[in-house]
């Protein structure tokens, strides 16, 4: 059999995506309402951010626009996990009722096939919002726009996304052992909300925890430093692309390990 390379998977993803979009478009009302819902979510998030900063102009030496930058950065960085890996939320239901077994019988990579099944188009609204916020705060902070700065931003956005995807994969995969992974996923979701605050507000113990145990500091804080505080950049920021890649790979292995050895229920 021919070895399935990257191009093969890319083409396959395109085909699955097209079918998925067609089926979603057939429920037009649902599609429109979901889009409005996503916009409402983003507006509400922004309104609460704005109310908070009306009352507290700075947080630990970070001004309004810098915090806005972190906020926008985390929104963009969270888009891939929303768009491409949303099926992780359903994993526990498939494992519980036994239908997960269907994924095991396809001649393609199990992880790929499972994640490719759902493309969450609502994430694109978040992407637009995030980019808007990022550009707005960027101009307000009067940071020079150079090709290098943009390149750096993109590289570190990818890094941050990988960290978030890794966290969610690992959280979802716990259901192979504990069956109901809802609370683990919920915990990751809640911590994700804290990614938009600078890690310096925490005590050293928690700085350690959020860097090395639950690495949410890599979602927005360490990568953003490179743009916001170029003089403050430490070694943790420079190694973050490496950390992102490693974490993603580790979470993939963990997910696959669980999928290979879980004992099915039901059916």
């Amino acid at each position: 059999m021919k070895k399935k390379n990257f191009r093969f998977y890319l083409r396959l993803y395109g085909k699955i995506l097209a079918q998925d979009l067609k089926s979603k478009m057939s429920y037009r009302a649902d599609f429109i309402i979901s889009t409005i819902g996503m916009i409402a979510t983003n507006i509400a998030g922004f309104v609460s951010f704005w109310i908070l900063f009306r009352n507290f102009p700075t947080v630990n030496g970070w001004g309004y626009y810098e915090m806005l930058f972190l906020y926008g950065f985390s929104l963009v960085a969270l888009t891939p996990v929303q768009c491409f890996f949303d099926n992780n939320w359903s994993l526990r239901m498939y494992v519980r009722d036994g239908s997960f077994i269907k994924y095991c019988f396809r001649p393609v990579n199990l992880f790929f096939y499972f994640q490719s099944e759902v493309f969450d188009i609502k994430g694109l609204g978040q992407l637009a919002f995030g980019i808007g916020t990022l550009v707005y705060s960027w101009t307000k902070l009067a940071i020079a726009v150079t090709p290098l700065a943009i390149l750096k931003t993109i590289l570190f956005l990818i890094t941050a996304s990988l960290v978030m995807v890794a966290l969610q994969n690992a959280a979802a995969a716990t259901c192979f052992w504990i069956t109901n992974s809802f609370y683990v996923l919920d915990l990751v979701l809640r911590f994700k909300d804290y990614a938009k605050y600078p890690i310096t507000i925490f005590t050293p113990v928690f700085r350690f925890v959020f860097t090395f145990v639950i690495p949410i500091a890599f979602i927005a804080y360490y990568p953003s430093l490179i743009i916001l505080r170029p003089d403050d950049v430490g070694v943790l920021t420079w190694i973050s692309p490496l950390v992102g890649g490693l974490l993603f790979y580790a979470s993939y292995r963990f997910w696959m390990y669980g999928a290979m050895k879980y004992s099915g229920t039901g059916f």
């Binding site: 649902d30 979510t41 009306r54 507290f56 947080v59 609502k122 683990v184 911590f191």
Partner: protein, 267 residues
Amino acid sequence: MNLKKYVALTKAGIMENLTYRLSTFIMIVGNMLYLLVAYFLWKAIYASSGTDYVNGMSFYDTLIYLTLATALFTFMEMYIVWEIGRNIQSGQIVRDLLIPMDYRRYLFWSYSGSLVTHFVFTFIPTFIVICIVTHGAIPFGWNLPLFMLSVVMAVSINNSIDFFVGGICLYTESIWGINIMKQVLVALFSGATIPIAFFPEPLKTITLHLPFQAIYNTPLNILLGKSGDMAETFTGLGFQLLWCVVMTLISRGFWNFSIRRVTVNGG
């Protein structure tokens, strides 16, 4: 008597919730972690504000308000709209409507088990920890029984809103969009994200006239003794009662009207 069937549903719900022990354990630990992060976050925010009181709320007040709002949310949110939506799409709603029990009561009581488990495993530990951490910033007196009364009414209002939104699902057949909009609106306008005391003026007045604030803001203000004298406390409770009755009538009327035109695919 009649009560027996309700108790049976509650019991079944509790048992279902406790089946996955490890997941219950993670729920408790996750909640404690969340409390810790909230503590440090708000401590830093208050430390950089330079004053002890912001809009009449001290650091302890804000901490208690927000953590208890989250704890209230975890046990009040029964995900009933998701359930109704899923049942509409799968057609199971036809079966549920045929049960010799009012559909709304049936849904409420079958989810009451999760309400009880979350109350015991999330709300009570949070309450105890917060009491210790804030060195008795919560006054103990008449406010406690009144708080409980207020929470009971809040559960009822929340349930009515859920059922109203469930009624909308009968028309749109859209779950995600409607639900996320409801969650976002309730979270923002109830004070669960940011205390209503922080809202800027026109928004604050509008919010205080909406039913959402009666879910979290009223009980929490009563608990914290923020509502001043007894007269104000009872005005708050009176408003809650009013919303309770109004929302029950509206949601019941709307549901009874809409259920006549339910279309079910498959099932």
